[in-house]
Amino acid sequence: MSLPDATRSDRVYPLLQNLDLENLAFATVQGVGNTLAIEEMNEDELRRLVLVNLARLTVSGEWNGLLTAGGGSFNPVLPNQAIEAGSAADLAILNGYPPWGNGNNAATTLYGTSSGNKIYLYPFVAPSTITVTNLEISITSAAASTCSGLMAFYTDSNGAPGTLIGKTSVDVTSTGVKVLTAFLDSTGSSTTIDLTGGTQYWFGFGRDTDSVAYSYSGTNAYARPMVSFASAPNFSANQYQVLRTISSTLAIPASFTMTDLEPHSLGCMTAGIN
């Protein structure tokens, strides 16, 4: 059945009648529409033209044109290069950029009790496509006894941490910047951390020793977006800034189960990569 009260098609359907959607090129659609004047008298043909092209895009699974025309091309570019000549500022700070980060960097302590024996996770969007050469963190207060800090990269799985990409660890019994250059997969074999620009991942951190505190440079929990649903609207202001494992763990897991993760408040370990 044709459009209600429509006049008979004298251009769109006659010119395209022997083509099926799979074989209809956009150039052909353009050719049919190019000579149509934009006026009320042509409204039926304009509708048909849009209908045919939408059907063509649907069949070919091609939505780029529609998204561009609808304003979907807005695509902010995150900082991804040193912009000062000769500058040493060449680190991408994973917890510093939109949409998940902020620039309020301050010392944060991983608890000196068993309640801190967990893996803490925050999401980030990779600012560029990169194979990570260096992961840099800063220890501001050293562990009082033997302890290694644990760090890991995970894929994103529908807005939650997915599977392990790679992990590393470092002695945190001294302060200063730690530059980590070697990464392991879940089996303990050497691996690379390959990130794709514009893709969401998760960064995880923790420790390997029971109840040993250390402090690190991290972004303030009070100024971060929420990383999970809340149980009620009257939640505490700083309750949902990281995810952490519910069960205690002193090792980096290969993946997580949603039932073993909970939201928590803790400054996100500042992680710079290049």
Partner: protein
């Protein structure tokens, strides 16, 4: 106690520590850290908060801030960075 500036830079590889060096810092960086911590600890001097502190805590806070103010008396930025006062754990609450 928290180190405000550590110039130590360690590079770690698969076999462990590869190298440990001391980075140079600038006066601009030292002053930025000093200003950040003076700003952060300003909040402790609001009367209702200040009045709750013990004499010991008040003394530690005053000494910390005075050491920050005096930091420019060091001959160069690296020395100043190495002599930055340590921040008490409870300063983090600011």
């Amino acid at each position: 106690m928290h180190t405000l500036i550590s110039r130590t830079r360690e590079v770690w590889g698969a076999e462990g520590l590869i190298e440990s060096t001391q980075s140079d810092v600038t006066w601009d960086y030292v002053k930025a850290i000093r200003l950040e911590w003076l700003d952060r600890t300003d909040k402790f001097y609001v009367a209702d908060r200040w009045d709750l502190f013990s004499t010991s805590k008040k003394g530690k806070l005053n000494a910390f801030r005075q050491a920050l103010r005096d930091i420019t008396e060091h001959p160069d930025a690296n020395t100043a960075a190495d002599n930055m006062p340590l921040a008490e754990e409870w300063f983090m609450d600011a």
